[in-house]
Amino acid sequence: MESRKARIVEIEPVTRVEGHGKVTVHLDEHNNVSEARLHIVEFRGFERFIRGRLLWEVPVIVQRLCGICPVSHHIAAAKAMDMIVGVDQLTPTAEKMRRLMHYGQIMQSNVLHFFHLSSPDLLFGFDAAAKKRNIFEVIKQFPDLAKQGVLMRKYGQEVILHTAGKKIHGTGAIPGGINKNLSLKERDALLVDVDLMMSWAQNAVQVAKNYTLDHLPLVEQFANFKSSHMSLVREDGALDLYHGNLRAVDAAGNIIFDQMDYRDFNDYLMEEVRPWSYMKFPFIKSRGNVDGWYRVGPLARMNTVSFIDTPLANQEFEAFRRFGQGKPVSMTLGYHWARMIEVLHCVEKIKELLHDPDLQGTDLRLKGERREEGIAVIEAPRGSLFHHYKVDENDQVTYCNLIVSTTHNNTAMNRAVTDVAKKYLSGQKTITEKMLNHIEVAVRAYDPCLSCATHALGQMPLVVEVLDAEGKIVDRGSQFAEIETPGLT
């Protein structure tokens, strides 16, 4: 006789996202989904770690926060420290070097996500056998695509190496400027392959766009929900990943706020704490905590900006906006298309900068009138990244608050999980791995960075637990099965 008790299905951790996450799906006595939640095991203690450190150390130390996007934290922290050392406008060489570093970072991060983390789902289907749904199958069936992904990622890392001084734990950005320019030798090394990267980036946009258009019935009903969107925009409304003012639009595309100075973000945004989650839930104050949630990241940026200031990416941006018929695109899977448009934009920007003689300039750093508080926002690969610090008269940090992209997307990811769980799990007698993968596909589209966990050997594989109403485990399995790679030694 079948159990009629309410159950909870847990997916822990979610695979192919960063760090540790757990999804709990709450089933009622009829096996219908009553609720679904994404729990992010956020590492805490960074604020304590940073307190007492000297301001000039901060852009380097913050890179310890995240093994995935250390460069984003490096740049955001340096930008906040610019404000503290009284520099509101960097020298052309300093700003362009930082921008080059930033474009390299976004390029390599977006590329890896699309080519290696999401492509198995997109190429083979969300309900393909788990043994097929991985990068080795992509290599087998689409070797050129897989190789391009690796080499584009490597190119982005080389841009970082030449601008930050190191592949990881870079020191390039410092309070008030930058500590190196780009030598002609470094420039020439990066110029060798930039056109190849451009052609691969153009191809990647087509792959993502064609996936969307070829699978419209699926894409349009999969975690497709209306929301507001927020990002930085330039003063003329252009996409600007490094600097600008904040713009938010509602689901219909109406402006909620525009050209908001991010240093006043506390006047516009609030964070709500919920008892079941370590991660906060930010919302737009004027809309309230129920309706004020929003999305950030590539999809949001395509929905907020007025245009892109590089020709090839702007052409693709216009196609994206035509697809949305002038309204914000609300499909969760639209993130992939948007992400590849940004890769193309970054490669165009990298090429433009490599031909700019300012990168060989020697005016690297400025000083101004000292302030006690620094706030910075950049558009990181996953969305808006906020860094906020206060320092005392001894240059020691007394306060630190970071709002990372994944936190901004917290409500949206929970919506996505609930939407997909209700569509694919409700009323099912048996919850299969393929059904659960649909939930993971929805989470992965946001490319959440949960990287606060260590990666040491022995980390638990994906475990799925089914619990009844009394909390008793009634089923347990692992999704993280070994796969064979025949022909390799």
Partner: protein, 191 residues
């Protein structure tokens, strides 16, 4: 020839890609062992791998090229294809050690790419990385993993625990002796 830093190793590879002197660089690197230490030094014992590399560099080990990273990533597959031998150095949870135990507190074992796990994040396992490197870039390197036991991972602190520090010291001694006992063919002779 002394050890090279992450930066110099990268520069070598970039230069061979940009100036066409691929064969020369490959020859130099093939006589060396690539040591990749990975982990986050800001997470206590998770920093064992990077600290291992830092000490190798400080002591200028012969015929090795070093790299550090927070984690293994796909582009490492390109670099690995330029070497004959790779040693991955990582922190390990004690209970997870399953290699050939070379002493207390660490293990040293061969990496097999025959059975690789699909990678689940931006980071890769050594097995997955070797499989990727062999498949996409025809790597022929033999690979080993030196897994050093760590115990403290939960705090944001740039410091190894005393027990991990002891394990690190033993692992360094072991690895140095092992490399001396297993020179690569075609090793560059030093004046």
């Amino acid at each position: 020839m002394s050890s090279s830093s992450d930066k110099s190793a990268q520069n070598e590879m970039i230069s061979h890609e940009s100036n066409g002197q691929t064969q020369r660089v490959l020859d130099v690197n093939r006589a060396k062992t690539l040591i990749i230490g990975y982990g986050n030094p800001g997470r206590q014992d998770d920093g064992l791998g990077p600290e291992f590399v830092r000490r190798v560099d400080t002591d200028s080990w012969l015929d090795v090229v070093t790299q550090v990273n927070y984690q293994l990533t796909v582009e490492d597959a390109v670099d690995i294809a330029n070497f004959e031998r790779v040693i991955f150095v990582d922190a390990a949870l004690g209970a997870a050690r399953n290699g050939v135990d070379a002493g207390s507190g660490y293990s040293f074992s061969a990496v097999s790419s025959a059975v690789a796990q699909p990678f689940a994040s931006h980071s890769l396992t050594p097995e997955g990385l070797m499989a990727l490197s062999q498949t996409l870039f025809q790597a022929s390197a033999v690979a080993y993993i030196l897994a050093i036991d760590g115990y403290e991972f939960d705090q944001f602190e740039e410091k190894l625990s005393p027990a991990a520090e002891r394990n690190l010291h033993e692992a360094l001694c072991y690895c140095r002796h092992w490399l001396q006992a297993h020179p690569l063919e075609g090793r560059v002779e030093h004046a």
